[in-house]
Amino acid sequence: MNLGISALDYIEAIKNGDFTIEEFVFETFDQIKKVDGKLHAYLSLNDKALDQAKELDKKRKAKEKIGSCMGMPIAIKDNICVKGTKTTCASKMLEKYTAPFDATVIARLRKQDALFIGKTNLDEFAMGTTTEFSAYGPSKNPWNQEYVPGGSSGGSAVAVSALESVVSLGSDTGGSVRNPASFCSIVGFKPTYGLVSRYGLISYANSIEQIGPMARTVKDTAFLLNVISGIDPNDNTTIDNHGEDYLKDIDSGIDGKKIGIISEMVGKGTDNAVSSATKKALTKFEDLGAKCEEISIDMVDYSVASYYTITSTEAGSNLARYDNIRYGFDFDLEGYEFNSYISKARRNFGPEVTRRLIIGGFVPSAGYAGKYFLKALKVKSRLTKEINSAFKKVDFLVAPTVPILPFKFGEKLDDPVAMFLIDFNTVTANLTGKPAISVPFEISHGLPIGIQIIADAMQEKSLFQAAYALESTTNLPKVPL
């Protein structure tokens, strides 16, 4: 049995009777046993998964119809609520928190009989780019375990890359799905803001984040998007996609399309290996019939500052509810006054979250809001205008997903600004609400490089066409496990 099978091939295999759901899930747990001790993709596992697989097989045997996912193993980032499971956001603040309801995306996957294998590791409360800020220990990159897997959805990327799941869900606030996808050589997709419901996604920066599918092929992410996307009455910010089918015509190609390479994202600060991979990608695009040109988006240079100002402000507010009064962890409140109790309880936030909360209290505060927060919002507006103009000239924007190669653990921990700049190429899509995808393109000295494609709002269909076309030019080695 090939655990590296794509989601669509898995579905075909189940339909053909090549193996049962139970057999596949059993092998998956076997693989987890083999590798996760070292890789630490998972924070918790679903001990009922095998029983659930058996149930689905029984139904199929009885010729009952089951959902389109056919018991496909899926790993869920631990900041997404799955009813009855521990949902910790990789934080000590939620050590004992069990989600009492399903996120909308989970309910939709459940309806289609996806099988939840477990909850995956992340940077605490999704704040980070390497999974080093998880309160439960980092995840390791399967391509080289001394290197970070990217973040914040590191665990979800590792699970898919290391064949511990067929597909996974992550969340992307500033690149948190695309970045680890690029570092682990898998596909990671961030939808248009509002396309996928955030109900049940534990908020970090609610005005820009989205849940995104992660898989080994572009078609798989399109398939997952079909299941999870669409308007949700539980989330006022969702938009109606009128039941769009993202798999249909995905192989139409990109002949005649115009591609803009964002000059600010391939300049200074880009590793040589990444530069050359990007140049190669452009050649491939042209081979496929597209026309490439350089495009400058001025505000990109201010996008990281704008992003961290806005997200820490929102995080400061979104994380205010974690005071350990209603849920959280064990800490007796006898003998305390309200403010001193909650201040002590909130010491359970890790160091990076603590820093972001302080920044998040500072930049919108009276006296500083004009200097930082409002300016950041204005940069966001101008950036959106600039990218909208760009899309009048080209169909897609392209850049390397991450300006640098994956790096070793601890390398960036001492330099917060260097840590910020890992997101340099990805935050633009979040700030402007545009859909973006990372396609695994090359392995350089054993380390993965991904290419990012961005499209205009609600243009997922064309985006997948471009991504699929690029993917078809690649021939990547298997993960060295």
Partner: protein
Amino acid sequence: MTKIGLEIHCQLTKLESKLFCSCKADYREFKPNTNICPVCVGLPGSLPRLNKKAIEKATVIAMALNCKTPQKIAFFRKNYFYPDLPKNFQITQLNIYGPTSIGQEGKISVEGKEIQIRRIQLEEDPGRLIYEGSSERTQITLVDYNRAGTPLVEIVTDPDFENPKQVRIFLNILSDLLENLGVSDPSLEGAMRADANVSIEGGAKVEIKNINSFYDLEKALHFELTRQQSLAERKIEIIQETRHWDDKRKITISARSKEEEEDYRYFLEGDIPWVVIELDIISRLKKGMPESISSKRERYIKDFDITSQVADVLSSDKFYSDLFEQAHDQKNAKEIANLITTDLMGFADTKEKRKESKLTAKHLADLANSIIENKITRNSSKNVLQTIVKSGKSVSQLISELDLGHVSDEAELSKIIDEVLKDESMAVEDAKQKPETINYLVGKVMKKTKGKADATLTLNLLKKKLA
């Protein structure tokens, strides 16, 4: 010059559900923490779902207070930590990016003085804190989130009030207005709360919070004005600060440290896109608004010749003005209005009594018509009304049961009067010196006729006979 401004919070108790979720808006019947859901308790991953009717009702309130209503409204977060605030921020409205709250720049007249309404905003109520045992000794507070998320309309006035009496009148007008619009029942406990700011000539503005009832508000205002005036007399500076009303000791106490240091870090609520209220929706809402109290009052006076006192009372009572509208025609309107305000309101005054009353619009019409047609005297109407309220029996049935005919035959009445004059020879003598004794004699005639004598005729006949 004394300046008083108000910040009034009104719950929209007539809505079915809370502002951001489908839990019940009126939480009063529920056991603690049984009217909650992930949204109003602010569980991780929950998102607000804005209530359409709340926007509509709040817009109607804004229009009733003559406010400007913007075409696009937005919600903001007010960030602070408190045990009754499940998310440790409140979703509310502000006007920091231009006019974005549900209403601005309105006005309302209070006894001829125009009070400017600075703004009206929609926001969510927090939960309730309950103290087990004596609140001084216990270290623990118990929290009940049943109320968290209840829709509130906050009305902020300019400091246009000159004295506490004006404030009281304004609050009554506002209560009646909200009840008349059908958006809130102000008599429910906690449905309307108010904070105030007070300043006297030469002094800084002092905010007063923690006032739990309108009765307390008036007391607090009187206390605070006295406090400030005594400081001014002793040439002590009145500093700008926030004070809390201490309900037990009936005084205001300084609460400065907490309030001053709070920095709410206001920013837009990203989970709620700005709501666009098109002009056709505004006109639909305007058309659907119930008639205003002042308009009813004018109409009653103009069309039905009802006195202004009666019109005042009737128009500002929604229950009875509705009943009046159902019962009257052009001929009996004045009589019905009098019956309601003079008699009926006196004994069917509480909410329960009104609910239990068996009196219908038809009863009122029949009774009024019987009086006009001289089938029954106005004197007996009180008794009849009370009986109808309790039994629901028809007017005609009661006229016969209670033997309530109308004695208006002059000869018959003359005979009875002669009898009374014979029995009351002393009063007859007194009447020569003190003309008001005639009322005593009228009373005796009424008693003898069991109230059926026509009052005017009796008086005239008595006058004639005594002369």
